[in-house]
C-alpha cells in the first residue's frame, strides 16, 4: 500500500510539472500576439474597432460554407488554414495620442524567434508606416502581423494560421481586416459578401 500511495503522489507531481512545462511551450509556438494592451488607447481614440474572429468562431461557421456555391467556396478556400483573425483599429482626433511605446509593446513580441519582417513601407509625404511580419516554423507559415500607423491612426492585424501575402491581400476589407492596400490588383478577385437565398 505504501508503495502504491507513493507512486500515486509521484504520478500526480509529475502531471503537475508536465502541465506547467507544456503551457509555455504551447505559447511559444502560437502566432497569436498579445494586443489587448492597446485597448487602453480606446479612451483617447475617436473611434475604436476591435475584431476577434477566433478559431472557435471560424470552426462554428466554416463547415457550413457550401463548396457548390462559387462565392462561398472562395471564402472557404480563403479561410482554409486560418485559426484566428484579430484586429485593433484606433482613430484619433489629434496627433500624439499614441506613442512609440504603444507600438513597441507589439513590436517586441515580433522579435521572438520565428518572426521576420518582410515588408517595411514608409511614406514621408503622407506619414504612413506599414510593417508586415511573418511567423514561420521551418517552411510552414504560422501567422502574420501587420502594424500600420500614421499620426492619427493605428491599426494592428494579427492573423494566426497558414497565411501568406497573397492571402493577406485577399483578406483586406473582409473578415474585419481593414484596407491596407498591400496589393491593389488582387482585390478584383475577392469573393462578394454571402447573400442568403
Amino acid at each position: 500500500m505504501k508503495v502504491f500511495a507513493s507512486s500515486i503522489l509521484k504520478l500526480l507531481s509529475l502531471l503537475f510539472l508536465t502541465a506547467f512545462a507544456v503551457i509555455p511551450a504551447c505559447a511559444q509556438s502560437n502566432a497569436k500576439l498579445q494586443i489587448d494592451s492597446l485597448d487602453r488607447l480606446a479612451s483617447r481614440a475617436s473611434q475604436t474597432i476591435v475584431v476577434s474572429i477566433d478559431e472557435r468562431v471560424l470552426k462554428m461557421g466554416a463547415p457550413f460554407l457550401k463548396s457548390t456555391d462559387p462565392n462561398e467556396a472562395q471564402i472557404k478556400e480563403l479561410l482554409d488554414g486560418i485559426k484566428g483573425i484579430y484586429v485593433r483599429n484606433f482613430e484619433f482626433e489629434n496627433e500624439g495620442e499614441f506613442t512609440e511605446a504603444d507600438i513597441e509593446a507589439i513590436r517586441s513580441q515580433l522579435n521572438a524567434p520565428g518572426w521576420s519582417k518582410i515588408v517595411e513601407a514608409r511614406s514621408r509625404k503622407e506619414g504612413e508606416n506599414v510593417d508586415v511580419f511573418i511567423k514561420t516554423n521551418d517552411t510552414k507559415v504560422e501567422g502574420i502581423a501587420v502594424i500600420a500607423f500614421n499620426s492619427k491612426q493605428l491599426t494592428v492585424v494579427n492573423i494566426v494560421g497558414s497565411v501568406d501575402m497573397d492571402k493577406l491581400s485577399q483578406l483586406e476589407g473582409q473578415f474585419g481586416v481593414p484596407e491596407l492596400e498591400l496589393e491593389r490588383e488582387s482585390k478584383e478577385n475577392r469573393p462578394q459578401p454571402v447573400k442568403k437565398n
Binding site: 500500500m1 505504501k2 500511495a5 500515486i8 503522489l9 500526480l12 485597448d39 487602453r40 480606446a42 479612451s43 481614440a45 475617436s46 473611434q47 475604436t48 474597432i49 476591435v50 475584431v51 476577434s52 474572429i53 477566433d54 472557435r56 468562431v57 471560424l58 462554428m60 461557421g61 463547415p63 457550413f64 460554407l65 462561398e72 471564402i75 482626433e93 473582409q174 473578415f175 474585419g176 459578401p193 454571402v194 447573400k195 442568403k196
Partner: protein, 184 residues
C-alpha cells in the same frame, strides 16, 4: 498512511477545482449583460407595454443581418430584447470600464466578435457569439447617449458566415438598427 494519502488527494482535487471556476447553468449572456447595464449605469429597462416598439426595432436589426423578413426570423428561434430608453448612459470614466466589465462578465463560451467604441457620439456596440446546438446565439449590446439595447437571438449558420465575413459593417448596421434614439 492511507488517511494522509486521502487528505492529500482531497487537497489536490480542491486546488484543481479552484483553478477552474464553475459558472452557473443560468449564466446566459443576455441576463448577465442586462444586469450589468443596469448596475453599471444605474438604469432600468423599459416595462412590458413599451417593448412592442422595441421588438420591432429588434426584429428590424436581425432582419438586416439575416437579409430576411421578420416572420422568417421568428421561425429561426427566440429573440430576447431589453431596451433602455431616455436614460443617462454617461459614465465619469468613459466607455472603457464597461467594455472591461462586459468582457469579464460573460462566460468563456461567448466569443467576442466585434467591439466598436465611438466616444464622441457616446456610442458603444458589442457583438458576441456562442454555439447553441446546430445554431448560434448572437448577443448584441448597443449603448448610446440616452438609450441602450441588449439583444440575444439564435442564428442560422448562414447568417453567422455573413456576420464574420464583414463584422465591422454588420456590427455598425446592427447598432444602427438596434440602437436607441441616437440613431437617425
Amino acid at each position: 498512511m492511507q488517511k494522509r494519502l486521502i487528505s492529500q488527494l482531497v487537497i489536490i482535487i480542491l486546488a484543481l477545482s479552484l483553478t477552474h471556476p464553475v459558472r452557473s447553468a443560468k449564466d446566459e449572456g443576455y441576463d448577465v449583460v442586462v444586469k450589468l447595464v443596469e448596475t453599471h449605469y444605474r438604469v432600468k429597462r423599459k416595462s412590458v407595454p413599451l417593448l412592442a416598439r422595441a421588438a420591432i426595432k429588434g426584429g428590424r436589426a436581425i432582419a438586416r443581418i439575416a437579409s430576411s423578413s421578420i416572420p422568417e426570423l421568428a421561425e429561426a428561434g427566440s429573440i430576447r430584447l431589453a431596451v433602455f430608453e431616455n436614460q443617462d448612459f454617461s459614465h465619469p470614466a468613459g466607455t472603457i470600464p464597461f467594455m472591461a466589465a462586459l468582457r469579464a462578465a460573460l462566460s468563456p463560451e461567448w466569443s467576442p466578435l466585434v467591439e466598436i467604441l465611438l466616444p464622441q457620439d457616446d456610442e458603444q456596440t458589442y457583438i458576441y457569439l456562442r454555439e447553441a446546438g446546430d445554431k448560434f446565439k448572437l448577443l448584441v449590446v448597443n449603448i448610446g447617449r440616452r438609450d441602450a439595447t441588449v439583444l440575444q437571438v439564435k442564428l442560422s449558420p448562414e447568417t453567422l458566415i455573413k456576420l464574420i465575413h464583414d463584422p465591422e459593417v454588420m456590427g455598425k448596421a446592427i447598432a444602427d438598427e438596434a440602437g436607441g434614439s441616437n440613431s437617425p
